[in-house]
C-alpha cells in the first residue's frame, strides 16, 4: 500500500516538474523573441515559413484523404440512422459536434504529431548531437528564440489552418461522396449545417487547434533539446515526444469537451 502511495507521489511530482519545465521552456522561447523585437524576425522568418510549408502545405494530401474518408463515414452513417428515425434535420448538429468540434481537431492533431512532431523532435535531437545548439550558444544566438519559437509558431499557424481545411473537406467532400449512394439535396445539407454552426464554433475551433499546436510543438522541441549528445537518444526523444503529445492533446480536447458539455447542461 505504501509502495503504491510512493509511486503515485513520485508520478505526481515528476508530472508536475515536467509541466513546470515545459511551461518555462515555452515562456523563455517567446520571451527571447519579444525581447529582441523586430530585429529578430528576419533570421527566424525563414524557419517559420519552412515550418508552415512542411507542417501545413505538405500535409494537405493526407489531410484531404482523412477528411474525405471520415466525413463520408459520418455523413453516410448519420443520414442512414437519422432517416430511420425521421429526424434528418438533426444531421447538421451531429456533423458540427462530431466533425468540427471533436473529430477534426483530434484527427488533424494526430496527423501533425505523426508527421511534424516527430520531425521536430528528431531535427532538434540531431542538432544537439551535431553540436549545432552549442554552436549557436557560442555565437550568442539564443536557441530558444532562434530554434524553438519559429517551430512552435509555425506549427500553431499550420495546425489551425489544417483543421479549418479538414472541416471544409470533411463536410463538403463528405456530402458529395455520400451523395453517390444516397439522395440528399445539397441545399438541405447546407441549410441544416448553417443552422447548427454558431459563431462560437469558429472561435472555439481556432482556440482548440491553436492550443493543440502549442502542446505538440512545445513537447516535440522540449524532448528534442533534452538529447544530451548521443545519437541513440534521438529515437528515444522522438518516441517520448509522440507519446506525450498524444496524451496531452487527448487530455486537453477531452477537458474542453467536458467543460462545454457540463456548461451546456447547466
Amino acid at each position: 500500500m505504501l509502495e503504491a502511495m510512493d509511486a503515485l507521489g513520485k508520478f505526481t511530482l515528476d508530472y508536475y516538474r515536467s509541466f513546470r519545465d515545459l511551461f518555462i521552456f515555452v515562456y523563455l522561447s517567446f520571451r527571447d523573441v519579444i525581447r529582441r523585437g523586430p530585429r529578430n524576425l528576419r533570421p527566424i522568418l525563414f524557419t517559420i515559413v519552412s515550418q508552415i510549408y512542411f507542417t501545413g502545405h505538405q500535409a494537405l494530401p493526407l489531410i484531404t484523404f482523412l477528411a474525405l474518408a471520415s466525413g463520408s463515414i459520418i455523413v453516410l452513417q448519420s443520414t442512414a440512422q437519422l432517416s430511420l428515425l425521421g429526424s434528418q434535420e438533426m444531421m447538421g448538429k451531429i456533423l458540427v459536434v462530431t466533425i468540427i468540434r471533436e473529430l477534426g481537431p483530434l484527427l488533424t492533431a494526430f496527423t501533425v504529431i505523426a508527421r511534424s512532431g516527430t520531425a521536430v523532435a528528431t531535427e532538434l535531437g540531431s542538432m544537439q548531437v551535431n553540436r549545432e545548439i552549442e554552436a549557436l550558444r557560442t555565437l550568442s544566438i539564443e536557441p530558444l528564440g532562434f530554434v524553438v519559437f519559429p517551430r512552435i509558431f509555425g506549427g500553431v499557424v499550420s495546425l489551425v489552418g489544417l483543421a479549418f481545411y479538414f472541416n471544409c473537406i470533411a463536410l463538403v467532400g463528405g456530402f458529395f461522396v455520400s451523395n453517390l449512394v444516397s439522395e440528399l439535396s445539397f441545399s438541405f445539407f447546407i441549410e441544416v449545417l448553417a443552422q447548427a454552426i454558431a459563431p462560437e464554433d469558429f472561435i472555439l475551433n481556432v482556440l482548440k487547434n491553436g492550443a493543440s499546436g502549442l502542446i505538440i510543438f512545445s513537447i516535440a522541441a522540449f524532448q528534442g533539446l533534452k538529447v544530451k549528445g548521443a545519437p541513440h537518444e534521438v529515437p528515444i526523444a522522438t518516441t517520448r515526444a509522440v507519446v506525450n503529445s498524444i496524451m496531452a492533446v487527448v487530455a486537453f480536447n477531452l477537458s474542453v469537451s467536458v467543460y462545454f458539455f457540463t456548461k451546456a447542461f447547466a
Binding site: 533570421p43 551535431n130 549545432e132 554552436a135 549557436l136 557560442t138 555565437l139 550568442s140 544566438i141 539564443e142
Partner: protein, 236 residues
C-alpha cells in the same frame, strides 16, 4: 549590437566538476596575457576542453570566478555577456555548422542576428575569407554536401567572421586539409597585426601548427596552467 573590448581575462580560484563525476579543476588561477598565443596541452581528461568551455561561458565554475575586464562572467545574464561574447571567436573540434543553412548562410546568420557593423563591408570580408580558403565554389552548398575538409575550414573560418579580440580554437587542424593550414596561420597573423586580435588560445597537440604559428605551450593541470617559459617558434 554593441561589443565590449576585452582587456583582461582571469581565472580566479576556479573549481569545476561535471555532475556525478570527479573534479576537473580545483582552485585554478591564471591571467591570460594579451598578444600571446597559448597552446593548451595535456593528456586526455586533463581539462583542456573544459577550460575552453569555461572561457566561452558554456560551463559555469562550481567555485571561484571567471573574470573578463574584472567582471565575473558567471554573474552575467545572456544579454550582459553577449557584448563580450561577440568579441570571442570560437571553432569547436567537430561539427558546429548549422546544417540547414549553406556555408555562406552560416556566416551571414551571425551578422544578421547581431547586426554588427556595416553589412556591405562585412559581407565583402566574408567573401574574401571564402576565396582565401578556396571555398568560393561551395559556399552556397549546405554542410552535408561539401567535403569534410571544406566543412572543417568553414567552421574554423566562422570564428573570424566578427574579427574577434579573443580567438579560441579547439583542435583546428584536426580534419583540416594540409593546404589550408598555412592559410589559417597567415589569417591568424593578419588578424593579430591588422584586426586587433589580442588573445589566441588553441587546444592542440599539433606540433607542426605550433611551429608554424609560434606561441607558448600551457600544460593544463587542475590548479594551474604551466606555461613554457619561451616561445616555441618565431611566429609573430
Amino acid at each position: 549590437m554593441k561589443r565590449f573590448p576585452i582587456s583582461q581575462i582571469t581565472l580566479e580560484n576556479v573549481s569545476f566538476a561535471y555532475e556525478g563525476a570527479g573534479s576537473v579543476f580545483s582552485g585554478l588561477c591564471h591571467t591570460f596575457t594579451p598578444h600571446d598565443i597559448l597552446f593548451l596541452q595535456g593528456p586526455r581528461g586533463s581539462g583542456k576542453n573544459t577550460l575552453l568551455r569555461l572561457l566561452l561561458g558554456l560551463e559555469v565554475p562550481t567555485a571561484g570566478q571567471y573574470l573578463i575586464n574584472g567582471v565575473a562572467v558567471n554573474q552575467l545574464g545572456h544579454d550582459e555577456f553577449t557584448p563580450f561574447r561577440l568579441n570571442i571567436g570560437y571553432a569547436s573540434d567537430i561539427g558546429g555548422l548549422i546544417n540547414n543553412h549553406t556555408l555562406y548562410e552560416n556566416f551571414r546568420l551571425l551578422l544578421d542576428y547581431h547586426d554588427v557593423g556595416d553589412p556591405a563591408e562585412r559581407f565583402d570580408f566574408i567573401g574574401g575569407l571564402f576565396e582565401r580558403f578556396d571555398l568560393g565554389g561551395v559556399k552556397q552548398l549546405r554542410p552535408a554536401f561539401v567535403s569534410s575538409t571544406a566543412r572543417k575550414a568553414a567552421a574554423v573560418l566562422r570564428a573570424f567572421a566578427l574579427r574577434p579580440e579573443v580567438l579560441i580554437l579547439d583542435n583546428p587542424t584536426q580534419g583540416m586539409s594540409a593546404e589550408h593550414i598555412p592559410v589559417l596561420v597567415d589569417l591568424i597573423r593578419e588578424h593579430r597585426t591588422q584586426h586587433g586580435l589580442k588573445y589566441v588560445i588553441v587546444s592542440s597537440d599539433d606540433l607542426a601548427l605550433l611551429d608554424l604559428l609560434g606561441g607558448r605551450v600551457a600544460r593544463v593541470t587542475p590548479q594551474e596552467l604551466r606555461i613554457s617559459p619561451s616561445l616555441r617558434s618565431t611566429g609573430t
